[in-house]
């Protein structure tokens, strides 16, 4: 069933353009994407429990095209909120970023507020989407929180997935759910356990120093996993915040309504004074005198290769690279799941899916070339060894999961199914997979 999901064409394109960074800070691994001109203060995207840095790929592509700098991170493996604040601060230090604009959805929005509360000097503005102020209701609905770190991976995954509304969706929302589900599959047991611990650990947001005028609240008005009461609390806490509601979009509007979300992000950044740099010194969005002409310039820029901003090569080489990238992008239209063969991909399902592809080997070679040229353009050549490490890592994870399953399965299975049974009743009325538990 899982093999059915094939990576969308624009995601394959994204993977071919934007390098995935992995750095270790202390004992912690950070996995993130960064794109757009370095001189612009970045917008940092923080995903929710089922998300990864990848879920914001549409924002990264679109906003970097418009001259903004976007960073999207995986929530690292931290086990309490204090640890999160410290880890995130160290991460910002490590990537040499001082002031940030944070865009957080659900758990990410909560973590963004926490960081803004405890490190007020670093946070310039907030965009909060479908989020909450207090973890109380989540810990109440997760009485098994104390055993989270022993829970086998498949149960954690299932718990995370049942939070996503089941049932008939319109195609764009269905696609966004598919994408997020495919991302959940890439998460390790520790990742999931850490996030659920963050969601259930007692904490609430205190007063922020940040003025409401630097906050935009971007909730979806149809439904989402975060109950309406909790979202309303956020709006009540920041009465002066801008309400950028979306009529619909479900849990993942950044995937299902990307153009609307990007528009709101852009309007927010403009409002809080972030100046986009589509090309050096070309564009000042606040400049009202030349609105017409400057916007035309901007549009012209949009069609350009985003990598060009960071190009260090000569024009001719640049053109060659583009050509190669163009060749690479062609297969992106047939959705046969080859996105998986990107060197930076570490997605176990994708790898599994491409095993079924007879000609995968040759494809892989083909795709590695443009990937590396893309890395070259961005001035960050990564050793090939990384790929092997990634594959080995994946296999290791799978192996440990198998061992772990047999061990803890029998003990926790009965216990957790009881809990989950309750949770189903309270949380997912429309779920029809209860009998499988």
């Amino acid at each position: 069933m899982k093999g059915v999901f094939s990576a969308p064409g624009d995601y394959i394109h994204f993977k071919s353009q934007v390098p995935l960074h992995k750095i270790s800070i202390g004992s912690r691994q950070w996995r993130y994407y960064e794109f757009g001109p370095k001189v612009v203060p970045p917008l940092i995207c923080l995903p929710g429990t089922p998300g990864t840095a990848d879920v914001y790929y549409k924002q990264i592509m679109s906003l970097s095209n418009k001259g903004y700098r976007v960073i999207s991170v995986d929530i690292p493996r931290v086990w309490n909120h204090h640890e999160w604040i410290q880890a995130f601060e160290k991460f910002l230090d490590a990537i040499d970023v001082h002031h940030v604009h944070l865009y957080g959805t659900s758990l990410g929005g909560f973590l963004a507020q926490l960081f803004a509360q405890h490190r007020p000097r670093r946070v310039r503005s907030l965009i909060l989407s479908n989020t909450f102020l207090d973890t109380q209701s989540f810990s109440a609905s997760m009485p098994w929180a104390p055993v989270v770190s022993w829970t086998p991976s498949f149960l954690l995954k299932r718990y995370v997935l049942i939070g996503i509304r089941d049932g008939p969706h319109e195609p764009f929302i269905a696609d966004s759910v598919d994408f997020v589900v495919s991302q959940v599959e890439t998460l390790s047991r520790e990742d999931l356990a850490s996030r659920l611990t963050l969601t259930s650990g007692a904490a609430s947001i205190g007063p922020l120093l940040l003025s409401d005028t630097f906050i935009t609240i971007m909730d979806t008005n149809d439904y989402c996993a975060i109950p309406r009461e909790l979202k309303d609390q956020v709006s009540e806490k920041y009465p002066g915040a801008r309400r950028a509601s979306l009529k619909s979009g479900g849990d993942f509007p950044f995937l299902s309504r990307p153009d609307e979300v990007n528009l709101h992000l852009q309007l927010h950044l403009r409002r809080v004074g972030v100046e986009a740099k589509p090309d050096i010194g070309l564009q000042n969005p606040r400049d009202s005198s030349g609105g017409g002409s400057s916007d035309k310039n901007k549009e012209k820029e949009d069609s350009d290769d985003p990598a060009k901003d960071q190009s260090k090569g000569s024009p001719s080489r640049d053109a060659k690279n583009k050509e190669k990238e163009g060749a690479n992008n062609d297969p992106s239209n047939d959705n046969s799941g080859e996105g998986s063969s990107n060197p930076t991909s570490e997605d176990p399902i994708h790898l599994a899916a491409s095993d079924n592809d007879g000609n995968d080997g040759s494809k892989k070679v083909n795709e590695e070339i443009p990937k590396n040229t893309a890395s070259l353009i961005c001035g960050q050549l990564k050793p090939m060894l990384l790929d092997i490490r990634v594959v080995m890592e994946t296999q290791l994870i799978l192996a440990t999961q198998a061992v772990e399953l047999t061990q803890s399965y029998s003990v926790l299975y009965l216990l957790l199914s009881l809990y989950l049974g309750n949770l189903y009743n309270t949380q997912c009325h429309s779920l029809n997979c209860r009998q499988t538990v």
Partner: protein
């Protein structure tokens, strides 16, 4: 839950540059007017809570740039519009002649499900200027055009003096609400057919 849900109504204001779109919105939402002209870049929006028959609604009013056709921000703000307000300056003939283009532009970009019955409202703004002496588009002419396009409601407004602004926006909100309700009845059908099977294969792999 649906009872608690606050309906969001999306209104788009279109019209030539300088006819007073931003001023009308500001007058309605903030009760403020400034004589200083500042071109809108791309688009921007304001929200206002409105009450109708003991229900609260959020009105999201999108003010768009008249000069360039706001490609800089794309056309995302058209999506899900519930009402479109066309504004012209009664003292500038060209701005009236362009109403048709704006209307067509909207129908193309927003592609509403029922374009013939999509609610528009036309506002003839700046009726205060020069005591009405510099006026070049007569009310009769404007009303005739509105009638020919399927009886579009018409108001003569002055953003500066707040004349008819509240009244106009009340009709705008009411028509937006009507359109939103129809939309809600209409949508579930389409969801079931297109999204249903697709979802089942993915959402329930538990």
């Amino acid at each position: 839950m649906p009872a608690r849900r606050r309906t969001l109504l999306k209104v788009i204001i279109l019209g030539d540059s300088g006819v007073g779109k931003t001023s009308l919105m500001n007058q309605y939402v903030n009760k403020k007017f400034s004589n200083q002209y500042k071109a809108t870049i791309g688009a921007d929006f304001l929200t206002k809570e409105v009450q109708f028959e003991d229900r609260l609604f959020t009105l999201q009013i999108w003010d768009t740039a008249g000069q360039e056709r706001f490609q800089s921000l794309g056309v995302a703000f058209y999506r899900g519009a519930d009402c479109c307000v066309l504004v012209y300056d009664v003292n500038v003939a060209k701005s009236f002649e362009n109403l048709n283009n704006w209307r067509e532009e909207f129908l193309i970009q927003a592609s509403p499900s029922d374009p013939d019955n999509f609610p528009f409202v036309v506002l003839g703004n700046k009726v205060d200027v020069d005591g009405g002496n510099s006026r070049v588009v007569s009310e009769k002419k404007a009303r005739a055009w509105c009638a020919s396009k399927g009886n579009i409601p018409y108001f003569e407004t002055s953003a500066k003096e707040g004349l008819n602004v509240e009244e106009a926006f009340q009709v705008i909100a009411k028509n937006a609400l009507k359109s939103e309700e129809e939309e809600e009845i209409y949508l579930p059908d389409t969801i079931d057919v297109t999204g249903g099977s697709q979802q089942r294969s993915s959402g329930c792999e538990c």
